[in-house]
C-alpha cells in the first residue's frame, strides 16, 4: 500500500525528519542520518570567519546526502531576524524550504506566536515553503494556515527535553480539527516509543535531533526511531482498538470446562 508523506509538492517515503546537531562527530552524524532513512534533514547558519571555511566536513556530508535540506532559523527572536536569516539560507542552501523558528522565551525555547505568524506571512509572500515550529495552540495553528503555511510543526515538548507528548489533549484536538493538514511533531521526542505514539495518534511525521545524537549509540538509536515511526504509522493505518474501562476476556468464554463443577460446589 502506498503511504507517502506529501506536502509542498514533494513526496517522501520516510516519516522521520532528523536534525544534524549534537553528534559526537560529523562521521557519526552521517551514519546516523543514513540509518534513520530520513529524507529531510535540518541544518542552520552561524557566523563564521574565513579560517573556518576551509574545513567544513559537515557541509560536504550534507551535500552528499541527497536529502531535502530544511534550514532553520533557530535562535531568532524577532520576525525580522527570521526573515533575513531565511533569505541568507535560501541563497546558500538553494532551497525555499524553511523550518521557521521565532523564539519567545529563552527558558523553554517556546515559540513566539505573534512573531511566528508575522514572519510566516512575509516569507510565504516571498515564495518560501514555510514549516513553522509552533506550539500546540489551535488558534495559532489556524493563523499559520491562514497566512499560507501548508504544514505545521507543533512541539511535543520543549526542545531537547525528551519529555514526549506533554499535552495530548491539545495535540489530539489539533489532529482532529486540522484533519487535512500535514502535522509534524517537532521537538521534545526523547524515545522511540514517544515517536510511535505520535504516529499512532495520526500525526504525519516526527522531527527530532537530540534523542538520536545524544544516545550512547546514535546509529543504533537512529535505527530504533526508524522502526518506531514505521510501526506507529502502520498502527494508525490499521486502526487502534477503542480503550475500555472494564476488562473484556479475549479468550472465548463459551464451553469453558469445569464451570458446572464450580456452580455445583457453590450450591453445596
Amino acid at each position: 500500500m502506498s503511504d507517502l508523506l506529501n506536502f509542498y509538492g514533494k513526496t517522501f517515503n520516510s516519516r522521520l525528519l532528523v536534525g544534524t546537531a549534537l553528534y559526537p562527530s560529523p562521521a557519526i552524524m552521517r551514519e546516523s542520518v543514513k540509518a534513520s532513512c530520513s529524507e529531510i534533514i535540518t541544518l542552520s547558519l552561524r557566523r563564521q570567519n574565513p579560517a573556518q571555511q576551509q574545513d567544513n566536513v559537515f557541509w560536504d556530508y550534507v551535500r552528499e546526502s541527497g536529502c531535502q535540506l530544511l534550514p532553520n532559523t533557530a535562535g531568532c527572536r524577532s520576525s525580522r531576524e527570521a526573515v533575513e536569516l531565511a533569505k541568507m539560507s535560501q541563497e546558500i542552501f538553494q532551497t525555499d524550504w524553511l523550518k521557521l523558528e521565532v523564539i519567545g522565551d529563552d527558558y523553554n525555547l517556546q515559540p513566539d506566536p505573534f512573531g511566528l505568524v508575522d514572519a510566516a506571512r512575509e516569507l510565504v509572500q516571498l515564495g518560501f515553503k514555510v514549516l513553522p515550529y509552533c506550539t500546540d495552540d489551535l488558534v495559532l495553528c489556524r493563523k499559520l494556515l491562514d497566512v499560507g503555511c501548508e504544514v505545521l510543526m507543533p512541539w511535543g515538548a520543549p526542545i531537547g527535553t525528551g519529555q514526549g507528548l506533554l499535552n495530548k489533549y491539545s495535540l489530539q484536538t489539533l489532529r482532529e480539527r486540522l484533519s487535512d493538514v500535514p502535522l509534524i511533531i517537532d521537538a521534545g521526542i526523547g524515545a522511540p516509543s514517544q515517536a510511535a505514539e505520535a504516529l499512532e495518534m495520526g500525526f504525519d511525521a516526527v522531527l527530532l535531533n537530540t534523542a538520536i545524537a545524544k544516545a550512547q549509540e546514535p546509529v543504533l538509536m537512529a535505527q530504533a526511531f526508524k522502526l518506531a515511526v514505521e510501526s506507529g504509522r502502520a498502527a494508525f493505518n490499521a486502526g487502534l482498538m477503542l480503550r475500555r474501562q472494564t476488562a473484556s476476556p479475549s479468550t472465548p468464554t463459551l464451553d469453558m470446562p469445569f464451570w458446572q463443577q464450580a456452580e455445583s460446589m457453590l450450591r453445596e
Binding site: L22, L43, L45, Q53, M88, S89, E91, I92
Partner: protein
C-alpha cells in the same frame, strides 16, 4: 573608519565595496551569505554595496542544526 564584522571591531581606511572587503577578509566560494546592518545582501548586490563607517556585517556559513 570603524566597522563590525561578526561582532568584532575592524578598521578601514575608507568606504569599501563589499566584494573587495570580502576578498580582503579571505571569504571565497559560495558557502557563505552576508547581511549588512541586519539586512540580507544578495550575492548579486555585493559589487554595488559600499561598506561605510559604523556598518555592521554578519557573515554566516552552514552549521549543524536541529
Amino acid at each position: 573608519m570603524q566597522i563590525f564584522i561578526n561582532g568584532e571591531l575592524h578598521r578601514l581606511e575608507f568606504p569599501t565595496e563589499l566584494t573587495v572587503l570580502l576578498q580582503q577578509l579571505g571569504y571565497c566560494g559560495e558557502a557563505f551569505a552576508v547581511a549588512v546592518n541586519g539586512d540580507f545582501v544578495a550575492r548579486s548586490e555585493y559589487s554595488s554595496t559600499q561598506i561605510n563607517n559604523g556598518d555592521s556585517l554578519d557573515i554566516v556559513a552552514p552549521v549543524v542544526g536541529g
